[in-house]
């Protein structure tokens, strides 16, 4: 029975009021709680104050527990729990550096892939889940997230594949020991001199994933190798393991740590985004200039910006709002009468005197302004990520392969000729019609290791491969209806009747290239500074620079080359004729000015004569 009804007395009214008040309180408390859950975190948003906030905070471990100076067994701190206390970790994890696995993200123009290199297998496969043409998703090459970290550990910023649960039980067991490789926020944001990305790479190589930020930040020393621990290692009970020792004096009396956190500095970016120009010896590296923008006082992040979502602008023209931070966005004056945007960041508006505007329709800004000045033969580069540079001491890798060429002036996906970095993929694959699926090098070696592991002397960093060896390996890879093929040096090798090699040049064998934007040269070092003949000449490097066709094939009979014009989508005969016509340019100008001068004189003479006649006629009329 209900304690009250509509005709209840005074006591019942008080009881009703209490219930009403309770409902009101519950409503407001509930609303307050809900709003705090949906509310903005401390580090989210931007109140437009340009000072850097002080980062004095408690370090937290994976479980979210505060790490204290006097803890008996020190734990590594978790960026997800520590930084995520104030910053929206989930949103940040969708940022450009951490969404490499996400096929839903707009991949934009082609970029630098990871390259799966196996010199014994003679394989170099462009790998990325971004879907850029000519690349393969890790899973298509048999690379699990766990293997991804093992292969490409050195310049990987955490998150993405680093935080994926392993499907494979064996990998799952190892992941239990190594932990997740959370986003290493400090790799970019820690401005302390202790921050050591080389050490981070070493920790990843040791499979000490959960310890990476702790070690590389310099807040603690981390000793031990997760990779050497037993599958059944239990950190609670077993001895040995990985030990963390925080530096003395970093904790205050509330166990808070002061960190120099701020916007990324150029050094942080350079660790993963540096290039070595092989035409300059290590001893002479000091002679190389940086990008002209950096010398002018800009920083990487002045152009490559991001909001809370960490979707870094890549700086190309067709990037929506971010495109305003491209070359054109800052340098080209907009005279449409609207809000002026020219001279952004102090960028000078180029004069481009004497350069016909058609050049700006056919060439990207970088064609003339970026990378090295084109030489008779395309230069060779090593990139930080692909060749694993900047790993110090005994962990120095500095791989020699793949051979990356640049600048290769070729047509980009936007139809404009631009400098690119380029390498020739090579791999064993299963071919089904036009579908080519690379075979994981380890599987190739399982089947045909005896042939591929034969001792040979390297030539141009490659272990040479004969037609007979290719035939033998393809025979070993033949499995049911599969048609194994080998792709290298722009060609595809396939077994035909009688074990003969059938050679073709499918799109899949084309080199993989991606635009290079840096280092930007100053205007006085841009192509065209020596007038038209910088490019429009029958021997100009712009069109006729030689690009080596790189591969292990002995049958190629020495190094082969193609010209850059072969990759520019231009009519070679026409360009040859057009370039040759520049010999006559001075004569054309002479004839034009001479003829115009004489015509102008004649016109002027008869105009004067006409004036004289009119004057004379007027005088006669008066007389």
């Amino acid at each position: 029975m209900l304690p009250c009804s509509f005709n209840c007395g005074q006591g019942s009214k008080k009881y009703m009021m209490k219930i009403f008040n309770l409902i009101i309180v519950v409503f407001f408390v509930g609303t307050a709680l809900a709003s705090s859950e949906e509310g903005v975190m401390v580090g989210e948003g931007n109140d437009a104050n340009r000072s850097s906030p002080v980062h004095l905070f408690n370090l937290k471990d994976e479980a979210g527990l505060v790490i204290r100076a006097d803890s008996e067994k020190q734990q590594p701190f978790s960026t997800k729990k520590t930084c995520g206390e104030c910053h929206n970790y989930d949103e940040i994890s969708k940022g450009w550096h951490f969404n490499a696995h996400d096929t839903e993200v707009d991949a934009g123009r082609p970029g630098e892939p990871w390259v799966l290199v196996d010199s014994i297998c003679r394989s170099q496969i462009p790998v990325t889940a971004r879907g850029w043409q000519g690349t393969f998703a890790p899973q298509d090459v048999g690379i699990t997230p766990w293997l991804f970290l093992k292969k490409f550990y050195s310049h990987f910023p955490g998150g993405s594949y680093g935080e994926m649960e392993a499907d494979n039980p064996e990998e799952g067991i190892r992941q239990g020991i190594s932990g997740m490789y959370e986003i290493n926020c400090l790799a970019c944001h820690n401005r302390s001199s202790y921050e050591d990305q080389s050490l981070a790479a070493m920790q990843v190589a040791r499979q000490n994933y959960r310890w990476v930020p702790t070690a590389s930040s310099g807040l603690a020393t981390v000793e031990g190798l997760a990779s050497s621990l037993d599958d059944f290692y239990d950190p609670e009970f077993d001895e040995g393991g990985i030990e963390v020792t925080y530096r003395q004096g970093i904790f205050d009396k509330e166990d808070k740590v002061l960190m120099d956190i701020g916007l990324p500095e150029n050094d942080s970016c350079y660790f993963c985004h540096s290039n070595k120009d092989l035409s300059v010896s290590s001893e002479m590296e000091w002679t190389r200039d940086q990008d002209v923008h950096l010398h002018s006082g800009l920083n990487c992040i002045d152009c490559h910006r991001n909001g809370d979502d960490h979707m870094i602008t890549r700086g190309f023209e067709h990037e929506g709002l971010a495109g305003t931070l491209s070359c054109e966005g800052c340098h080209i004056a907009d005279h449409n009468g609207g809000k002026p945007i020219a001279n952004r960041l102090g960028a000078p508006a180029p004069e481009h005197a004497g350069i016909p505007p058609i050049h700006f329709e056919r060439l990207s800004c970088t064609a003339c302004h970026s990378g090295n000045w084109p030489e008779e033969q395309a230069g060779q580069l090593r990139t930080a990520r692909i060749h694993k540079t900047a790993l110090h001491g005994q962990h120095n890798m500095n791989q020699r392969q793949p051979h990356i060429y640049g600048p290769v002036l070729m047509r980009g996906t936007d139809g404009k000729i631009a400098p690119h970095k380029l390498f020739w993929p090579s791999y064993w694959a299963d071919a089904s019609g036009e579908d080519i699926s690379p075979i994981n090098p380890e599987k190739v070696l399982e089947s045909a290791g005896d042939i591929l592991k034969e001792e040979v002397e390297k030539q141009n960093d490659w272990r040479p491969l004969t037609d007979e060896q290719i035939t033998a390996v393809l025979n070993k890879l033949r499995n049911g209806e599969n048609a194994p093929v080998y792709i290298a040096g722009g060609k595809m090798y396939k077994l035909a009747a009688g074990d003969k090699l059938e050679i073709s040049e499918p799109v899949a064998a084309q080199p993989y290239a991606w635009p290079m934007a840096h280092d930007v040269r100053p205007a006085e070092q841009a192509l065209g500074v020596n007038k038209c003949a910088d490019c429009h000449d029958s021997k100009s490097s712009f069109f006729y620079s030689e690009l080596p066709v790189d591969g292990p094939l002995v049958a190629q009979g020495g190094q082969q080359f193609i010209n850059m014009i072969d990759l520019q989508g231009l009519d070679k005969r026409y360009m040859a004729a057009f370039n040759a016509s520049f010999i006559f340019r001075p004569m054309l100008k002479f004839v034009a000015f001479g003829s115009c001068g004489l015509i102008a004189l004649v016109v002027l003479a008869y105009v004067l004569k006409a004036i004289a006649a009119v004057t004379k006629a007027g005088t006669e009329e008066v007389e």
Binding site: P350, G354, P357, S581, A592, G594, C596, A600
Partner: protein
């Protein structure tokens, strides 16, 4: 916009010529077909070169006129044909255009130098214009068939040669930036259009005068 206006203007030019020819006929003989006129003029040129009846400067001028007319035809076709397909002049057409441009210019210079005196307006032209009723064919006929229009076109073409040429040749010098380059390109296109319109009129008038002289 340029494409539309230029196509429209060329239609108007040819339309006006057709109407003028219908309203003020200049005579019609079997040998005065287009083919007949071409053969006649080739004969005249050959005669001029090999007989040596005229002074060398006159011979040079006539040769320059016909070579210039041929070059103009090439420049006109290579310059305006891409407009029909809505593309920019490029590739082999551009090379052809650039090859014949200096030839045309030299011819134009010779014609202007050699013909300025002949095409100079005289007191007689004033008289004709002041008494149009005394001449056959009305004002349209007078303008074309007395040579007054030819003289006017000659001087307009001589003057238009200057912006037409300078707009292109100046852009080849490292003097002007992108904005000015674009302006010069536009100036070249528009002056070429005006030049072409008057050049077509001039050719029509000169052919009429040739036909009338045969009569």
């Amino acid at each position: 916009m340029f494409e539309t206006i230029s196509l429209l203007l060329l239609v108007i030019v040819f339309g006006v010529i057709f109407i003028h020819y219908m309203v003020v006929p200049c005579g019609c003989k079997p040998e005065l077909t287009i083919g007949g006129l071409i053969i006649l003029n080739i004969k005249n040129i050959l005669k001029l070169i090999f007989t040596g009846e005229k002074k060398w400067l006159v011979r040079l001028r006539v040769l320059a006129f016909w070579l210039g007319a041929f070059s103009f035809a090439i420049l006109f076709l290579t310059g305006f044909t891409p407009l029909v397909s809505g593309v920019r002049l490029q590739g082999y057409l551009l090379m052809l255009h650039a090859t014949f441009a200096p030839v045309f210019l030299v011819c134009a210079m010779v014609v202007v130098l050699g013909g300025a005196a002949q095409y100079c307006f005289t007191a007689k032209d004033g008289e004709i214009l002041s008494k149009p009723a005394e001449y056959k064919g009305g004002l349209g006929g007078i303008l074309t068939d007395t040579g007054i229009a030819a003289k006017a076109c000659f001087w307009i073409l001589a003057i238009m040669t200057l912006p037409l040429t300078l707009s292109m040749v100046l852009s080849m010098l490292p003097l002007f930036g992108t904005d000015m380059q674009e302006f010069l390109f536009e100036a070249h296109r528009w002056s070429a259009l005006i030049f072409a319109a008057f050049a077509i009129f001039e050719l029509y008038i000169l052919l009429r005068l040739q036909i009338l002289s045969i009569d």
